[in-house]
């Protein structure tokens, strides 16, 4: 297990490094000059370039950049003058995190439950009913479901608030829209996984002991079916994260996603760069945690 953890940590560290480097060089390739402006005199533009270190050779900039990174300095936003990238993250990430975490955890739990039910009642009405839910989840991505739900529940029926952040009611719609995809995918995967486990040989042994079918499912099939679900969690976290861009924009939630989308439309390069690195690193860390969790659950990995 120790070797397993070690390897995963190393790979994660390497990934973050490459991520930061790639981001830096990609942003360097961005066309145009962020400071080009007809109203600002050339002298001041020169000063700005100096300030941001843009006049030095590339490798120097890179080293300075990496150094700053290690110290936790992501620079300042170009368009939102005076605000540091780290500051923006510190302020709005907790909002996104709360929304994302609640959405993710509840969706995974629901998905696992639905998946078990589907597998038990395979091809009977509960299976079909829940598969419709799955279908809706697949077919209605956030940008479709969001406006739709907002219109139906918020405007027409007026049972939930349309925008804003802070109260429990305001959490419901965005969390649901955000989590729908996860519910769909997890249900489908859990169903498939359980159906696959059911045909395994050790289930035959379990049944030959005369234990009740419920116990066969819960004690034998369930745990063994969880493995692919957990390995898929990393992907699900990523999709919740990207979903947050859309959901926060639609429901006007002051989270990090909204800032990210804004930074793209306004071409706020330092913000784009900083947020890219932040998101990237965050996902790498999340994937690492998922890998460790997987190692924990599966004794074949845990005990070599």
């Amino acid at each position: 297990m120790l070797g397993y953890i070690g390897r995963k940590l190393l790979t994660a560290a390497a990934t973050v490094l490459i991520l930061a480097t790639l981001t830096f060089f990609l942003v360097k390739l961005l066309p145009g000059n962020p400071f080009l402006s007809e109203t600002v005199p050339e002298v001041i533009q020169q000063k700005q370039r100096e300030y941001y270190g843009l006049d030095k050779p590339v490798y120097v900039q890179y080293l300075r950049y990496m150094g700053n990174l290690l110290r936790g300095d992501l620079g300042s936003s170009l368009k939102k003058v005076g605000r540091s990238v780290v500051g923006i993250i510190a302020e709005s990430f907790p909002v996104s995190a709360k929304l994302g975490l609640i959405s993710f955890l509840i969706s995974e739990a629901i998905g696992i439950l639905f998946g078990i039910l589907c597998a038990q009642f395979k091809n009977k009405w509960p299976d079909y009913l829940l598969m419709i839910v799955v279908i809706l989840g697949i077919a209605l991505p956030a940008m479709v479901l969001g406006p739709l739900l907002r219109f139906v529940l918020g405007v027409k029926l007026r049972i939930l608030p349309v925008t804003g952040w802070g109260s429990l009611e305001q959490l419901v719609m965005p969390a649901f829209v955000l989590g729908m995809g996860t519910i769909a995918v997890t249900t489908r995967n859990m169903r498939a996984s359980m159906l696959g486990v059911t045909t395994q040989d050790y289930i035959k042994t379990a049944r030959s002991k005369g234990i009740s079918p419920v116990r066969v499912v819960m004690k034998h099939e369930f745990k063994n079916s969880l493995v692919p679900i957990i390995t898929n969690m990393g992907v699900q976290i990523a999709s919740v994260l990207t979903g947050s861009f859309v959901v926060e924009s639609i429901f006007l939630i002051p989270g990090l996603g909204k800032y990210f989308v804004d930074s793209i439309t306004t071409l706020d390069y330092t913000l784009i760069m900083g947020l890219t690195i932040f998101y990237g690193t965050f996902l790498v860390v999340m994937n690492l945690l998922v890998d460790l969790l997987y190692g924990f659950i599966d004794p074949r990995i845990r005990l070599k």
Partner: protein, 354 residues
């Protein structure tokens, strides 16, 4: 048909503990009805070991799954026959009632101890699970019972190994765990479905010895399913030979090995490599493959592959013929009195006409 006698050591007046009479089981597939078992009868007395031998697909596994009631739901239907355990017909029992028997009065060990053990559960827990299902016991009581059993099966360091997972144990140890799971409730019958096929030869010997030992100690009857005649020779008192869903020959181990009557049995025996025979003879293999059980032929199912096939063999199914008083019978026209008479007549006329 006269009931067979049982193996050494039991009284002839006792009834068999398990009687399978004229069992017929079919599977409905998209291509038609597959008649997996077509009227097979066999019996088991207390404490003896019988073997049901035959190629893959001859119906042996389906038979014992039907006895145990572990055929997956909806798969396979029993067309006819009865399965009597101490006189009670198991086919009339509900699933719930059968669960009281499974793992308790009759158990099964399978072929591959790696895939047949839950990879995410300790082996100790898997044994305890069977015990606590059928006996009221606290965790502590169950654990000590498990340790008892593990000593019985010659498992080294039982306390440590109890908490291990299947992948941490060797193949031989895993098979012993399977046996432990099966015997912890002291079953009357132990079914063994190809118990040695997936094991190394050296481990095979250990497992066979263990099973014989356990049978002696616990007086458990063993039903051995296999196609490996070597294992049969080491374990079985009586042997049923199964082909294409029917029993084609039955006898004691002696009768079968020394004087088999059915061409299929002879083929099976001839195809086992033997260290003591000269190597100038080719290893005999029965050419061809078993018939398709969707459309079984009207006559003897073995006729297509039999070197002695006669015209009647493809027209009519042979009736089982008793050979001697001991219960040895064979379902082959070669053994039928009519044929024997014809053959001796022919010999007689040939002798007369020189």
């Amino acid at each position: 048909m006269r009931p067979e006698t049982k193996g050494a050591g039991t009284s002839m007046d006792e009834e068999p503990i398990l009687s399978v009479n004229n069992l017929a089981v079919s599977f409905d597939t998209y291509q038609g009805e597959v008649q997996a078992v077509r009227g097979a009868s066999w019996h088991l007395w207390k404490g003896e070991t019988i073997a049901i031998v035959g190629e893959s697909g001859c119906g042996k596994t389906v038979s014992i799954q039907t006895v145990l009631g572990t055929n997956p739901k909806g798969v396979g239907r029993v067309k006819s026959g009865e399965i009597l355990f101490h006189g009670e017909n198991l086919l009339e029992k509900t699933e719930k009632e059968m669960r009281a028997y499974q793992g308790n009065k009759m158990s099964i060990i399978f072929q591959d101890p790696f895939t047949y053990l839950n990879p995410t559960m300790t082996v100790g827990d898997q044994i305890i699970e069977n015990y606590r299902q059928h006996r009221k016991a606290t965790r502590k009581e169950a654990e000590s019972r498990v340790l008892e059993i593990m000593r019985l099966i010659n498992m080294p360091s039982p306390e440590k190994n109890m908490r291990r997972y299947p992948h941490q144990l060797s193949g031989g140890m895993r098979q012993r765990i399977m046996i432990a799971i099966a015997i912890i409730c002291g079953p009357e019958i132990l079914f063994a479905d190809e118990p040695t096929t997936a094991l190394d030869v050296t481990i095979q010997a250990q497992v066979i010895d263990l099973m014989n030992e356990l049978r002696a100690k616990l007086n458990t009857a063993i039903v051995l399913i296999t196609h490996d005649m070597g294992v049969v020779a080491n374990m079985a008192d009586r042997i049923y030979v199964m082909y294409a869903g029917k029993i084609v020959e039955h006898g004691t181990a002696d009768e079968i090995f020394k004087g088999s009557a059915h061409p299929y049995t002879k083929g099976l025996l001839g195809s086992v490599p033997r260290v003591d025979r000269k190597t100038d003879k080719d290893l005999y293999s029965i050419r061809g493959s078993p018939p398709d059980l969707i459309a079984p032929p009207p006559g003897c199912a073995f006729a297509a592959r039999c070197r002695y096939a006669m015209n009647i063999c493809v027209k009519t199914e042979p009736e089982p013929v008793n050979l001697g008083d001991s219960g040895h019978f064979s379902a082959c026209w070669l053994n039928h009195p009519a044929f024997i008479r014809k053959a001796s007549e022919k010999q007689g006329t040939e002798a007369r006409h020189g």
